[in-house]
């Protein structure tokens, strides 16, 4: 067993937080508040050391020379950044809340335009989500390479409307799943009057359930990894039961 105070504090904190699994208790609640306080304090410290100081204060006040880097002069222009920065805080005033809306609107517009610029490629580019949803439903099996040539000839002779190739089962399933899932969100018609749409929606719901099941399984794996990390700490660093 370890005799380091920091390991003991870590082990006690872990056990108290895990005690919630049995029942909520005052000790757990006390430690929960301690963690929230620590988290906020740590966050404020990080915001200053990692963001505000290097990206704003050092540029405003300048940096003295160090053995590895030369001195950098400051610039008072960086004081101007305080204006848009402070506008966010007007959310706390009923009278001047409109000032905060200006900056929120600016960032929403900025975010939306950046998103649309960046979204085009992943959606419509060569490997985009939408482009890749248009799968070839017929393809020539790789072991029948000679057919590919014949397919090209037939295709060229018939102006592209006739192919001699095999249906691709995976892509048919993909198309079926795609259409049924999209139809679930098709609210323009009442499904009870359209039996085909009704069935398609039911099938879409089933596929959603399969998808949610997969996500749930992965979530369980993620959560168990977190528990495991704590168990490993208790057994290796605290109790020294494993190497």
């Amino acid at each position: 067993m370890s005799f380091e105070p920091s390991i003991w504090i870590g082990a006690i904190c872990t056990l108290v937080i895990l005690s919630f699994v049995y029942k909520e208790n005052p000790v757990y609640r006390f430690f929960e508040h301690v963690f929230v306080g620590l988290g906020v304090g740590y966050g404020v410290g990080l915001s200053w050391t990692q963001v505000l100081k290097p990206y704003w204060w050092d540029k405003l006040a300048g940096v003295a020379a160090t053995p590895v880097s030369p001195a950098k002069p400051g610039s008072l222009w960086w004081l101007l950044v305080l204006i848009p920065g402070s506008m966010w805080y007007f959310q706390f005033s009923k009278k001047y809340v409109w000032i905060s809306r200006l900056i929120i609107g600016f960032f929403m517009g900025f975010g939306a335009t950046s998103y649309f610029e960046g979204a085009y490629g992943p959606m419509f580019g060569e490997t985009g989500q939408i482009t890749q949803s248009l799968k070839p439903l017929w393809s020539v099996p790789s072991h029948l390479g000679g057919l590919a040539h014949a397919d090209n000839v037939v295709c060229a002779l018939t102006g592209g409307w006739l192919h001699i190739s095999a249906p691709n089962a995976n892509y048919w399933i993909f198309l079926m799943v795609l259409i049924s899932c999209v139809s679930y969100f098709f609210f323009s018609f009442r499904p009870e009057k359209h039996p085909v749409l009704q069935r398609s929606m039911a099938m879409g719901r089933m596929f959603f359930m399969v998808c949610f099941g997969a996500i749930f399984g992965n979530t369980i794996m993620g959560r168990l990894s977190l528990l495991l990390e704590r168990l490993e700490f208790l057994m290796r660093d605290w109790l020294k039961l494993i190497n």
Binding site: V21, Y22, L46, S47, T49, Q50, V51, Y55, T66, V68, S69, S114, Y115, G118, A119, G121, P122, G125, T127, G128, Q129, T131, Q132, C211, A214, I215, N218, T219, I220, M221, G222, R223, L224, S225, L226, L227, L228, E229, L231, E232, M235, L241, I242
Partner: protein
């Protein structure tokens, strides 16, 4: 209350106690082997490709850019993923540059880099470097492509980037031969939106188990060249490296936990369907009596 109804109402404390017991026991029981997913193999293949290309005579040596975008809540999965890839890169003598898009991630990735570099006898500045923390906005990604050194001006210790030996040869983002981004969020999308079409380097990633489905989407379309999904991905990567590391051991323990949870799901479902059938029978019987 019959047995089937009781099966649906097992006290959570019993379930948690059993889970804890099974996982603790798992540390002392030999685990079973595991299969390797194609998405994990692809990350491995990309590293091998880069190492092979760098080793060709007269080749321009490219570096690997590793981004740590996780914090305390994701270390359990993100650290083993990053460890595996860093070990592979250093073993194959590829130069490594770390970046962090999370303030906590900066500290975590720096410690990780120092630890593994010491294992392989790699020197800071010559074989690996930590470029520090960056605020991950679209503008940063776009600027990395347009002018890498407009974003990266100094390393984590404040040394001007041009004074660092391994960075002297690097001209722009096109000298990066491999990108690996581990995260507890879907931030990999920014690489795909703003960088993917501009460079030839494969973009790969590591995600927490919760995000596996999101990453599978972009991997299946070919946008992501490979990814490590959760702890399982990290363990698979260690398997490819022939290592019996932290992730492999963790996954062996976790497998027992998964089996127990699956058992409870099956038991709960059997209880639910049997109870439903019994209730339907009772309702049918009552309806017959009523009509008689």
């Amino acid at each position: 209350m019959n047995i089937w109804m009781r099966l649906q109402r097992i006290d959570r404390r019993i379930i948690y106690s059993l889970l804890l017991a099974v996982m603790v026991a798992g540390f002392f029981i030999k685990g079973v082997g595991q299969m390797v997913s194609k998405n994990t193999e692809d990350v491995y293949r990309c590293v091998e490709q880069l190492a092979g290309d760098n080793g060709k005579p007269g080749a321009y040596e490219k570096i690997a850019l590793l981004v740590f975008d996780g914090g305390g809540a994701t270390v359990g999965e993100n650290v083993p993923q990053m460890e595996g890839v860093v070990r592979h890169l250093m073993k194959r003598n590829v130069k490594v540059a770390f970046m962090a898009f999370d303030p906590q991630g900066k500290e975590i990735s720096r410690d990780l880099g120092e630890r593994i570099a010491a294992e392989f006898g790699k020197k800071y500045g010559e074989d690996w470097v930590h470029l520090g923390y960056f605020i991950a906005t679209q503008v940063v990604y776009q600027t990395l492509v347009k002018d890498f050194y407009k974003v990266v001006k100094q390393d984590n210790q404040g040394t001007p980037i041009r004074d660092i030996s391994m960075m002297k040869k690097m001209r722009n983002i096109h000298d990066v031969g491999f990108i690996f981004h581990v995260a507890g969020s879907a931030m990999i999308g920014y690489w795909l939106s703003f960088v993917k079409n501009e460079i030839n380097a494969p973009i790969t990633g590591g995600c927490t188990g919760v995000l596996n489905a999101d990453y599978a989407n972009v991997y299946n379309t070919g946008q992501l060249s490979g990814y490590l999904g959760g702890m399982a991905g990290a363990a698979e990567y260690e398997g490819l490296l022939g290592l019996m590391g932290r992730a492999t051991r963790a996954m062996q323990v976790q497998n027992y936990g998964h089996l127990l949870i699956m058992l409870f799901i099956v038991i709960g479902n059997i209880g639910y369907f049997v109870t439903r059938r019994q209730e339907a029978k009772l309702r049918g019987g009552a309806a017959k009596k009523g009509s008689a």
